[in-house]
């Protein structure tokens, strides 16, 4: 079973509704993944889900970039873990042998379309700058740029030129360890993150 800590900003919606509509479906999805810990931050607040089984810590992976997808953080990186976020076609993501203590992020498709390589495509190990164009998604005769969300190092491009991509499909895996460490050292570990003022703190973990 899973423990849960929940904090949320704004008090307009009842905590019951937040739990029912948000935390419950999330926790059920989480239960089906091989992940041991999951932290999600949205406009409504943040939720941390932890499975009691001991985790083999290696590194952490986040799936970001899709504006609808909240940052997800897991304490066990693997191809399986990525599949949980990337959906149907994300099983194309190869197994990444992450190093302990590093933070990997997937850059996901925000529109449905045909993926096109950048010219030239970034190479694994290449240093990437925040905002750099990594590739394109052609949709409705428009080229939508896929931009790097952060200063990072490219781990892998996981789609091929000309491949159709779904919404939310993983396109790149990047290593953002340095950027994250520099930008928000106080955010880690999630357990000690202080909720913003006015938050609702649950006295005990909800039954999930």
């Amino acid at each position: 079973m899973a423990d849960s800590k929940t904090s949320r900003s704004g008090g307009r919606q009842g905590i019951g509704r937040f739990l029912r509509e948000y935390v419950r479906p999330l926790s059920e999805a989480f239960a089906q993944t091989p992940l041991h810990e999951l932290r999600v931050t949205t406009e409504q607040g943040s939720v941390t889900l932890v499975k009691r089984a001991p985790a083999q810590l290696a590194a952490s992976i986040e799936a970001t970039s899709s504006p609808a997808t909240a940052p997800l953080e897991a304490t066990r990186p693997s191809a399986d873990g990525m599949r949980a976020f990337g959906g149907r076609t994300a099983s194309l993501v190869p197994a990444i042998n992450g190093e302990a203590g590093r933070t990997y992020v997937t850059v996901n498709a925000e529109v449905v379309g045909i993926f096109r390589n950048a010219a030239p495509p970034p190479a694994p190990g290449e240093a990437l700058q925040s905002g750099q164009v990594l590739g394109y998604i052609e949709a409705l005769r428009l080229r939508n740029e896929v931009r790097c969300p952060d200063d990072a190092t490219l781990v892998a491009q996981v789609v091929l030129d000309g491949q159709p991509v779904d919404y939310g499909e993983a396109l790149f895996v990047i290593d953002v360890t340095h950027a994250r460490a520099a930008a928000a050292p106080a955010e880690l570990p999630p357990d000690v993150q202080a909720p913003p003022a006015g938050d609702v703190q649950l006295a005990e973990p909800p039954r999930l």
């Binding site: 029912r20 479906p25 149907r88 529109v111 409705l140 159709p164 919404y167 499909e169």
Partner: protein, 458 residues
């Protein structure tokens, strides 16, 4: 015929369209939101594309992602189902401009019928009765004359109206001037526009609608009527049946002929439904036309032995309607109960969650259109329809007995459903006698009749 069709919808209607395509030998492409990853429609289709996050505005209403998926998949046509983009004239136009046939009427017909006043004006021109309205009230004498002509009660409405503001029901002439003053004052305060008009108010009308099918060569037929008078207080339909009980045959013939005339008048093509209100004095009035397949289409399919969704696809593919009006004859009676994930005790509030055990009914005379299964998620983002149970038999009485039996077999653990209210409806004498109207459920089933009587001083 098309080689491949994209279904821009979810839930049971997406599955219904996939089934029709499969039987026609047409390949299918589903689109789904992140909340529907485990849903049946992506599984049943030949291909499926995730088009966005759970919220409909960013997935099932996301026109660029839907069109892009259609381009990637290389489909010939797009079926919009009902709700969502089905009555969006702009979407129909965008489909056409990208080379996809929209399975439905022309954008012009959708736009015309989507605008209430233009629809009403066109129907009146075609000789279809519409609810009498006064035009903007200029003087008290003029208002009195109008009301005497159409008879009381009347409803005063603000031209700028909305949300019930500036609306007044007036039951007799003595109250008319006060009602006009109050409505105009309220409208002035709420909208900065005090203009009002008057409409005849129908008390306890029945909702009877007519199914039409029209091809792109000007051939129009009706496929009978449906009685959809059992409605929630929000006027959403809950139970539908065909044929309509206790409908005078001459009246029925007139309704059906009116609907065909109306479809001709707007050069309608594909499946459509004309909704009428039928007053207890036997008069009927056009309410609106739905330019799409309806939720309750299965009762018509069962009784008339016609596949409406297949015809939608065939007509869009340019085929001629080969069914003649003379062949359209009802056989027996069918009733549909909408099983919604709703808490009846709390004003039909939608409920969501993970379903436990789901047991669906079957056996003779039962058809179930659904997308749910044991363990399925009911996401909170979409409409609450879980299943449509259709019971049919040679007689209305037989269909009612079958429906009771089917509801008793049905189990939907994990969410509140409307099964209980259907069981109450099917036990009411006034339902068994076929005497329902659009406020019947609220007045006779949801509120105890004694309380209604007391409130009205009877």
């Amino acid at each position: 015929m098309f080689a491949k069709v994209l279904i821009a919808n979810r839930g049971e209607i997406a599955i219904r369209v996939i089934r029709a395509c499969r039987e026609l030998g047409v390949k299918t492409v589903a689109v789904f939101s992140e909340a529907d990853r485990q849903a049946l429609h992506p599984r049943f289709a030949d291909e499926a594309y995730c088009i966005g996050p759970p919220q409909t505005a960013r997935s099932y209403l996301n026109i660029p992602n839907i069109i892009s998926a259609a381009e990637i998949a290389g489909v010939d046509a797009i079926h919009p189902g009902y709700g969502l983009l089905s009555e969006n004239a702009q979407f129909a136009e965008i489909c056409a401009s990208h080379g996809f046939k929209f399975i439905g009427p022309s954008p012009a017909a959708i736009a015309l019928m989507g605008d209430k006043s233009s629809a009403k004006a066109h129907m009146a021109d075609a000789g279809v009765p519409v609810i009498p309205g006064s035009g903007i009230v200029e003087s008290e004498d003029e208002a009195k004359r109008f009301c005497r002509e159409v008879g009381y009660p009347v409803l005063i409405k603000a031209t700028a109206g909305g949300g019930g503001k500036g609306m007044r029901i007036v039951g007799r002439e003595a109250d008319l001037v006060a009602g006009l003053t109050a409505a105009a004052g309220e409208a002035q305060a709420a909208f900065g526009d005090g203009r009002v008009y008057i409409e005849k108010l129908l008390v306890r009308p029945r909702h009877i609608e007519v199914q039409v099918l029209a091809d792109e060569f000007g051939h129009v037929i009706h496929v009978g009527e449906r009685d959809c008078s059992v409605q929630k207080p929000s006027h959403q339909k809950l139970l539908e049946e065909t044929p309509a009980p206790n409908l005078d045959p001459a009246m029925r013939a007139e309704l059906l002929a009116s609907a065909v005339r109306a479809a001709h008048a707007v050069n309608y093509a594909n499946a459509g439904t004309l909704e009428f209100l039928v007053a207890d004095d036997g008069r009927y009035y056009f309410m609106e036309m739905n330019t799409r397949i309806q939720v309750e289409h299965p009762v018509t399919e069962v009784v008339y032995g016609i596949d409406l969704v297949k015809w939608q696809i065939r007509i869009a593919a340019g085929e001629r309607l080969t069914v003649r009006q003379e062949e359209i004859r009802p056989t027996g009676h069918a009733i549909e109960c909408r099983i919604n994930a709703e808490d009846v005790a709390h004003g039909f509030r939608p409920t969501a969650g993970k379903l436990g055990s789901v047991i669906l009914p079957g056996g003779p005379g039962i058809r179930v259109d659904t997308h749910v299964f044991s363990g399925a998620e009911v996401p909170p983002y979409y409409d609450s329809l879980l299943a449509k149970i259709v019971a049919s038999d040679r007689t209305r009485g037989g269909a009612i007995v079958r429906m009771r039996r089917a509801l008793a077999e049905t189990e939907m653990q994990g969410v509140e459903t409307t099964i209980s209210v259907h069981e109450r409806v099917l036990a009411m004498n006034s339902f068994l006698d076929g005497h329902t109207h659009v406020t019947w459920l609220r007045e006779q089933v949801l509120q105890p009749p004694s309380a209604v009587g007391a409130a009205h001083g009877r």
